[in-house]
Amino acid sequence: MINVNAAVVRTKGGQFELEELILDQPRDHEVLIKVVACGVCHTDMVVRDQKYPVPLPMVLGHEGSGIVEKVGSGVNRVQVGDHVVLSFGYCGVCHNCLNARPFYCDQFYEHNFKGSRLDGSCTHHTHENEPVGGVFFSQSSFGTYALASESNVVKIRKDVPLEIMGPLGCGIQTGAGAIINALKPEVGSSVAIFGAGAVGLSAALAALAIGVTTVVLIDINDDRLAFARELGVSHTINSKSEDPVEAIKCLVPQGISYSLECTGRPAVARQAVEALSIPGICGLVGAAPMGAEIILDINSLLFGRSVRGIIEGDSVPSEFIPQLIELWRAKKFPFDKLIEFFEFSEINEAVEASESGRVLKPVLKIQSY
């Protein structure tokens, strides 16, 4: 029996309330993590607002980093004391998992959004023995301790600051991976990124890191665009005051072969496709409400333009997260510039700061180490 202080959402659209809960001991192939920090990601709010059918009450949080506290039986990939980043859950044996595509696992929903273990058992209970949803992204990291699966725990080196690494488990790898793993723009090519949030800016940093020479950021927030320019992007466009498709044609006469849609807005997705050169490919990353549709012009697409959806940056976390850390160490991927820290008790302020656009990547500092 483990006492955990966790942030619980009990009502649709409600606040995150810190509660004292009881967490299960780690079972076979489970790992108990002392959570040092956890990022706040848009998907946490999507679930809080019940835009996805995830049962409440629930302990959310899915960008956790921390230290292995205890291991269940059969765990041999990590040991007590290891520094780890937690990423998404997956089954490991379906055709996609076997083919290095755990991000398209047949059971992705069950391992990330179900709210309980696969066998239906709950990991969190109140002191009155009322069950509370957990296993969110196989971690539920808005808590002093988290229970993860051996498969979604990524061991990292100990000589890097653990408190900045949690977001690599979702938002950062989603943006960076969309570029590095999925779109793979060539050295010397050009990319347009729609949406200068944490995902879009991670993508921009990744594009710059791998030798893309023209990186265009499109957003409606001038502060974010100014920050993007500080990070080194070559062009910014405020789509409130100009048509991005026309602006790109002027700014980049040779055309943009790759674009990334990070807003989840159908109209923006259309722009991201229209902005492409011939041929070109648009990656869709932004999460939209269930049932949202995009209208596309067939004749525009016909000329070698493609659209593809990308989940979690097509990342195999145990391979990609250490790679991103090495890029960061080499000072080629300063993703930590997106981070602002909050105390765990300030979780609602952190969420508000993210939603208002003031903070790109809030990270809750939970336990010291």
Partner: protein, 359 residues
């Protein structure tokens, strides 16, 4: 107590013995499989002959050989998912762990903790029953119209040819490909490349094998008996519009064959070798590396086949586009295996030999 027949290697290069032993115990993550078809392969001979120690392969003695398995699940441990008594299965090229860097990258054939049936007690295929460790990962259910005989024939040679042709040499429909050595692997490589729509040139030093190659769809056959590597490559070009081939497969491993596979390439060509050498070459080969640079040749090695690529291979067999079992020339009993092993050094074994009787 239930017992079973198993063939044991008790000493290198000595006749194997047929023994009646206790069934292997299985753990929570394992499966007990009743073997119904089990292939006999040149690899089994190499291991029995104490070869490949230069490549770090050390067969534990005593052990049971055999690694080309078609069977039926008899029992599963409590943690095993997706399999039950009666499920017909095959076992991939190697047992994998599922959680190392290579397994995560879809290359279970390169698993850091890879093991083979003959390296573990109670898992070698020359046996009535075997234990498959980490069975959820390491048992591949067979589609309805793929038999256990297909699975055993598919064995190590056929799946090795599959990866070499499809994923390493990356043969594309319409290309001309040379296959050197029409033994177990070469025959499969020829069939697979042809099924992909490639034009295959088969090279061997035996007419009976080349006749078989022709029947399987080779567009050109070349007997390279008494021909040097250069002469063979020249002959190929004379029969291929003056050009080398885009891709080639060395399905033998003896240096003469590997060099032939290289010299037959056009500029920019891709050679994949799956052959392994013998006591003569001891794992080493000299290649004309400057020629490689000037011609932009690429050379790859290929090992077995990862779990991730089984569905495609089984789909081809299920759809009737590939038929590994057509190459089965003999179905034998356990007690006849040694006689087949004894024919291996002189390359006298014709086609695939599969054990279907376990006494």
């Amino acid at each position: 107590m239930k017992t079973m027949n198993t063939l044991r290697v008790n000493a290198f290069r000595k006749p194997m013995t047929l023994e009646n032993v206790k069934l292997p115990d299985i753990g929570e993550d394992d499966a007990l499989v009743r073997v119904t078809a089990s292939g006999v392969c040149r690899t089994d001979w190499h291991l029995w002959n104490a070869d490949w120690t230069w490549a770090g392969v050390n067969l534990p003695i005593p052990t049971t050989l055999g690694h080309e398995i078609g069977g039926v699940i008899e029992a599963v441990g409590k943690n095993v998912k997706g399999l039950k008594t009666g499920t017909r299965i095959t076992v991939p090229f190697n047992f994998a762990c599922g959680c190392c860097s290579h397994c995560y990258s879809g290359e279970q054939n390169l698993c850091d903790e890879a093991s083979w049936p003959f390296m573990l007690q109670g898992s070698g295929g020359f046996s009535e029953y075997i234990r498959v460790p980490n069975a959820t990962l390491n048992c591949v259910p067979l589609p309805e119209n793929v038999s256990e005989l297909d699975a055993a024939a598919l064995g190590c040679r056929y799946m090795t040819a599959w990866r070499a042709v499809v994923n390493k040499a990356k043969v594309q429909g319409g290309e001309t490909v040379a296959v050197i050595g029409i033994g177990g692997v070469g025959l499969a490589a020829l069939e697979i490349a042809t099924a992909l729509g490639a034009q295959v040139i088969a090279i061997d030093n035996r007419d009976d094998r080349l006749a078989k190659a022709k029947k399987l769809g080779a567009v050109v056959t070349i007997n390279n008996t008494d021909l040097s590597v250069e002469e063979t490559a020249k002959k190929l070009r004379s029969l291929n519009n003056g050009r080398g081939v885009k891709a080639s497969i060395d399905a033998v491993g003896i240096s003469n064959a590997t060099l032939t596979a290289l010299e037959c390439l056009d500029k920019g060509g891709r050679m994949c070798t799956v052959g392994l050498t013998s006591q003569e070459d001891h794992g080493e080969l000299n290649i004309p590396v400057d020629k490689l640079v000037f011609s932009e040749w690429s050379v790859s090695g290929s090992l077995g086949n990862p779990h991730s690529d089984y569905p495609e291979l089984l789909n081809m067999i299920s759809a009737g586009r590939l038929s590994p079992s057509q190459h089965v020339t003999r179905q034998i009993s356990l007690s006849e295996v040694q006689s087949v092993i004894d024919q291996m050094p002189d390359f006298e074994v014709d086609g695939y030999v599969v054990i279907t009787k376990f006494d």
